[in-house]
Amino acid sequence: MPEPLLEVSDLHVTFETDDGPVRAVDGVSFTVMPGETLGVVGESGSGKSVSSLAIMGLLNRKQADVTGSIVFKGEDLLTLPNDEMRKIRGRQISMIFQDPMTSLHPFYRVGDQIAESIIEHESVSKGDAHKRAVEMLGTVNIPRPDQRAKQYPHEFSGGMRQRAMIAMALSLNPDLLIADEPTTALDVTVQAQILGLIDNLKDEFDTAVMIVTHDLGVVAEYCDNIQVMYAGRIVESGDTDDIYYGPHHPYTWGLLQSIPRMNETEDRLTPIKGLPPSLINLPDGCSFAPRCPYSFDRCIREEPELLPTDGHHADACFLPLEEKERVIREELRVRA
């Protein structure tokens, strides 16, 4: 068994607000193996983005209270001083964000921005850094990269900006790439190009990838493992087949049932009733219980733990396994 690249244990992130503490991430533990693609799926407010910001060390420690440990290649990132963290960020862990317009600086040429991050981390000449920036733009399939490098972000289309972000993120050959909703602002055709590109480059650069998304459809094709988050916790994790063909948590069922499917004609969708809870007053017991059609008295009293059922397929739900299997067989539209 190889060493995990990233090991997050019992991560808590709490923001103090006037209305009380917001527990954005509430006890999350997971690992990322070298070269793995992990999908992190959840709705707005599930804590998926805050977890990735915590890994990147991008949460302001004055505003956010971060506890637990984030061990990356044997080092706990949470105990590192800021200047040490800067060496890791961008060099060994890099991130691409949802909106490529706001994450590129509008006043600087795209090539210069990519070169800047190379110069920041490596002792190379300006000319060499620039040459590498152009090369990277070519690697992410931007046509005429030498001319494009001289242009400003507003001269790029949305898809090309996201390619430029990927070029920047991979220019230092990081071990872990965190992609936070990388395609949400893009058209489906461009989305497919970008996801395909990340998938190809992942092998070429031997990088582990964490894709954060709200859409279970997006990650189906590319992920090895998936974890589903709800109200700051992981409620189910497993390999891709576990999650899509034998999901065990009612929230995952709800997510899968509410997506319209191209290959089926359903008269009605089955949405999850109600709304996600406020992270300030989480309900007692299981936080999904108030929206869960299968909840019973124990769910309201006790908080379920994330427990493995077989291998590494785990879920946080009190329903007996036979009942879950019955639901998968009789009520879900998944194929075996």
Partner: protein, 363 residues
Amino acid sequence: MSAQTEAGAVPTSADRGTPLIRLTGVKKYFPVTQGLLIQHHVGDVHAVDGVDLEVYPGETVGLVGETGCGKSTLARVIMRLYDATEGTIEFDGRDITKLRRGELRELRRDMQMVFQDPYASLNPRKTVGSIVGEPFALHGTVEKNKRKPAVQELMELVGLNPEHYNRYPHEFSGGQRQRIGVARSLALRPRLIVADEPVSALDVSVQAQILNLLGDLQGEFNLTYLFIAHDLSVVKHVSDRVAVMYLGRIVETADGATLYRHPLHPYTGALLSAVPIPDPKLARERKHIVLEGDVPSPIDPPSGCRFHPRCPKTKQLARDAGLSEDSDPKCRNDDPRLEPFEDGQLAACHYPLEEPIIGSSAD
């Protein structure tokens, strides 16, 4: 909403009566100007460039396409928020292309719009009661003292708590705000609702709630929908017929199941091969048609078939024929028209696709 239970038995235009909306050769150009003081007209953005479309009463027509294909502009032209540059728009047999303001206001009772962004489309300084009740005040359809119960009835209808009558939009979640938008659009009991990306800004679980709501309301009020979205799976779910738009034109129309089973236009094929499918095996099995490049500029659309610079099929044909150019001459020079195929499917392509994109192993 989804009448696909009788898929294949799409009625012909003869037995569906008068279309509620009929567009003939509709074009909308936006002028491009240059110059500081004196604005010179240097060109046009061909946002909508010759669209023929019929929407029958009680039907849901889905309009799908990428950003910039002109789908939202078309919706606004139908709503008469923009004036068409050319072509005619008929509503229930009556030409509405050149109505005056007073007549237009009358018309708006019959056609209403639901917008994409539930944050931007509601006035933050007004209560839900006055937002939903405003159409009553504007059109004088409900007397002042009866407005509150009428609004509360609408709120109940769309699944909002009528006691929240005096709350402001910021007190509601995205899905609830979209319900407010739907309630407002229903206030005048319209016959047509144009929904422009009504669920794109919502989380999936909430998206399903709104789609179901729209379906229920259609049954209850015999509504006709023009449903615009970039997500083909959502469009296919809600629509009786789907129209695919590319660069200001409709390139293919068919019922959702046919479109999925056998798309004819290579662009539709590319959209299908890119749609996220929550089924890993099926997603990996399907054919991948990767489109190169971006959508060309609508200021100077390509000659011949507008899709030819990105079309994988014409490139294949040119390669097979050993041509030096990378497209077939017919695609480059001849603008294809929408032609009928089997089952009422229409496509504008010289060399339609022969095989399905997504395998049938899942069915």
